[in-house]
């Protein structure tokens, strides 16, 4: 039991044993060696693109810093990865540097207690303000971005729009009018929904957050304090949109079983006109349907009024240093973070991973040719018509949203009731986090 600082015996037993097993499996192979060179480890998720980019970044970094060796380690994605990260931090057995989400998931790590504050680093001043907020607490800034931003928006087929002479809708009513024309013309399904991958059902709700925020600027704060609810307007409108679109018969007929890949295909081939999804779809698009990168564009999920329409933006993950990294290892890790903030590093990332949206650090620019999904987003960034998704401005996020939105989008649950169910669902998370007012 070599971790006397752990608060409760119950956790201490479990946690120190987990640490032991991690040591035994050799997960923590970092530290300095005799020759003055330092080895650090970098933990990333095991997505193929992430790993490829990680390896390329490390190669370049090592070439520039011959005294530092970086070892790449991978972790599973999703809930399992979340648990792994938390266990490693709780046992003081985290890698020298690790990559993880920003926003509500970062808050769940209790960064003030578990991470090294890097607010004094030179690159912090170059961070995009939005990113800085989601990678910081009141007491410090913790991460450097490891990718690009993306948006929760509607990707659409420009050929269908051109053929039917449609305009990009600025309000929900215009959007539904477009859908009606598309349905009547019989050229394509108006809206692609893909409940074979349940997570993709959430975008009408999550991507509507700019519109919610534009009607009530304090909504996120009230929500965190248990004073605003999805069951009331303006939060409710995302659920209602889903219900309306279903009732109008605008979904592809196989919406219940289609998968995310099917959704990307439908838009690329013009089988469907609209698909509410995250713009990281650009990478699937450029790999599988390179001929369609110019015909698939993006517009924000329309809201109530045309002049208040904008993009709901997701911030990239970040690289963090845990408190357990010390001494020469810490210095080397800070150097690695410095490197990740350089334009060189950004360039490597955009070569390895298809761009999903603008970078969030000054000096980093996207390559000249990017998919239309991404270039269509730029004007909203230039005009400042972007807002962060709810998960970046509130720590409260429930696990069952995707099932609820499938239920609403399949007509099993009415919109109002679904929103109410989600309000119950988030309560568990808020209580788990020990927030005030729940």
């Amino acid at each position: 039991m070599s971790f006397p600082s752990i608060r409760r015996t119950a956790v201490a037993v479990g946690v120190s044993a987990a640490a032991l097993s991690l040591v035994l499996t050799g997960c923590s192979s970092s530290g300095s060696s005799d020759s003055g060179s330092v080895t650090i480890s970098y933990l990333v998720d095991n997505g193929a693109a992430t790993v490829e980019a990680g390896n390329a970044l490390i190669a370049d970094f090592q070439a520039k810093n011959p005294n530092i060796k970086v070892e790449l380690e991978t972790r599973p994605p999703g809930a399992e990865g979340d648990n792994l990260i938390k266990t490693k931090l709780a046992t003081g057995d985290m890698n020298s540097v690790f990559q993880y989400n920003t926003g509500s998931l970062l808050k769940a790590l209790e960064p003030d207690k578990s991470l090294v504050n890097v607010a004094d680093q030179p690159w912090v001043s170059r961070l995009d303000d939005n990113f800085k907020t989601v990678a910081s607490t009141e007491n410090g800034t913790y991460g450097v971005p490891t990718g690009q931003s993306s948006a929760g928006a509607i990707i659409y087929n420009k050929d269908v729009y051109a053929k039917l002479g449609l305009q990009i809708p600025k309000t929900w009513d215009e959007f539904m009018a477009n859908n009606k024309k598309i349905l009547d013309s019989g050229t394509a399904a108006p809206i692609a929904q893909t409940y074979g991958d349940t997570w993709s059902s959430q975008l009408f709700v999550l991507g509507d957050f700019y519109n919610v925020q534009s009607q009530d600027a304090d909504w996120a704060k009230k929500y965190t304090e248990n004073k605003a609810k999805f069951a009331d307007e303006p939060g409710l409108s995302g659920f209602e949109h889903l219900e309306e679109a279903l009732k109008a018969g605008y979904f592809n007929k196989d919406y219940a079983t289609a998968t995310y890949d099917d959704g990307v295909r439908m838009i690329a081939k013009g089988e469907a006109a609209h698909y509410p999804i995250l713009t990281f779809a650009a990478s699937a698009l450029s790999v599988n349907y390179p001929e369609a990168v110019k015909t698939v564009g993006t517009f924000p999920i329309p809201g109530k009024s045309a002049d208040k329409n904008g993009l709901t933006v997701w911030m990239p993950s970040a690289a963090y240093i845990p408190k357990s990294t010390e001494g020469a290892e810490l210095d080397a890790s800070k150097k690695f973070l410095d490197f990740l903030a350089t334009p060189d590093a950004c360039k490597i990332v955009s070569e390895k991973i298809a761009p999903t949206g603008p970078f969030v650090i000054d000096g980093c620019t996207l390559p000249d040719s990017v998919p239309a999904i991404v270039s269509d987003m730029q004007p909203y960034f230039d005009e400042g018509k972007t807002g962060l998704a709810l998960e970046f401005v509130s720590p409260v996020k429930g696990p069952a949203l995707e099932q609820i939105t499938v239920a609403v989008g399949s007509g099993i649950t009415p919109a109002k009731q679904g929103a109410g169910q989600y309000d119950e669902d988030v309560k568990k998370q808020a209580q788990q986090l020990g927030l005030e007012g729940w």
Binding site: G14, A17, A18, P76, T259, D261
Partner: protein, 278 residues
């Protein structure tokens, strides 16, 4: 009268065979056919004879995907099954032996525990907590021990019942010859209870090889996965490669099929007789 029985014998039998083919064999043929098709043909998901047979290509490709992860999963599952079943058989036989031979006041308690173990579902999170506390969470030995704990009640029940048919006189003869408990158990009892041992081995092997839930909870992750878990994850990641997915399902179906061909009688006996007592 004779004609009627004859009609029943042949008519009823024939109809039953046709129905059985439709209901029980077709799904397996679908697995076999889809596993044998080229990628493009398989993606149509039709029930049809493959135009070209790619079965061995597909099997080889499945084994090699993701740096041979499926092969490692098969090895993991084999180790898991053999180790768990060996422990269950030896430890279960020891308990069944004493439980039947020695009458004492604990017996009703132990019988009660066996019954509880057969019925009560495992408490997942606390079990994980215990495994973490002993450093066994997410390790193959951890999962083996869990299977042993949950498999023992069934084995004890069968062994205890079978011990009743082993005459005590044999024990006494051995004891007079100066055999200690261990030698008595190893050289007299174990050989005599071989039939029921085979039953336990076969039934538990099938159950443990096919287990998904315990692996999902106690040995999650891809790198150290069992075949069932990897098959499940494979489904999510390679949705478009139906030929490979069904080749994987076919591979997972083969071990129980082989077991069934060789130990048909023991499996049936074990599953029916064992359960009758529960």
């Amino acid at each position: 009268m004779r004609n009627k029985t004859l009609a029943w014998r042949w008519g009823g039998g024939t109809i039953a065979v046709i129905l059985a083919l439709l209901i029980f064999i077709l799904p397996f043929l679908f697995i076999l056919f889809t596993a044998s098709k080229s990628q493009q043909e398989a993606s149509l998901l039709q029930f049809s004879w493959p135009t070209e047979w790619h079965l061995f290509d597909n099997l080889a490709q499945v084994i090699q995907t993701r740096n041979g992860l499926p092969l490692r999963a098969f090895i993991n599952s084999a180790v898991l099954t053999v180790a768990s079943v060996s422990l269950i058989v030896v430890l279960g036989a020891m308990v069944g032996f004493i439980l039947q031979r020695r009458q004492q006041k604990w017996n009703s308690l132990i019988n009660g525990l066996v019954l509880v173990g057969l019925i009560v579902p495992p408490a997942v999170v606390p079990t994980i907590w215990v495994l973490q506390g002993t450093g066994l969470f997410k390790t193959l030995p951890g999962l083996i021990f869990v299977h042993v704990a949950f498999g023992l009640p069934f084995a004890v029940m069968l062994f205890r019942a079978f011990m009743g048919s082993v005459p005590r006189e044999l024990d006494e003869a051995a004891i007079i010859d100066g055999a200690g408990p261990i030698r008595l158990f190893m050289s007299i009892i174990l050989p005599l209870i071989r039939p029921v041992m085979i039953t336990v081995i076969v039934v538990q092997s099938v159950a443990i090889f096919n287990d998904f839930t315990y692996a999902l909870y106690f040995l999650p992750g891809d790198s150290n996965a069992t075949v069932q878990l990897l098959l499940y994850n494979f489904q999510g990641q390679n949705l478009t490669q139906w030929g490979l997915l069904f080749a994987f399902i076919l591979l997972v179906t083969v071990p129980p099929l082989v077991m069934y061909i060789f130990f048909n009688r023991q499996i049936v006996e074990g599953m029916t007789s064992g359960s009758v007592k529960g």
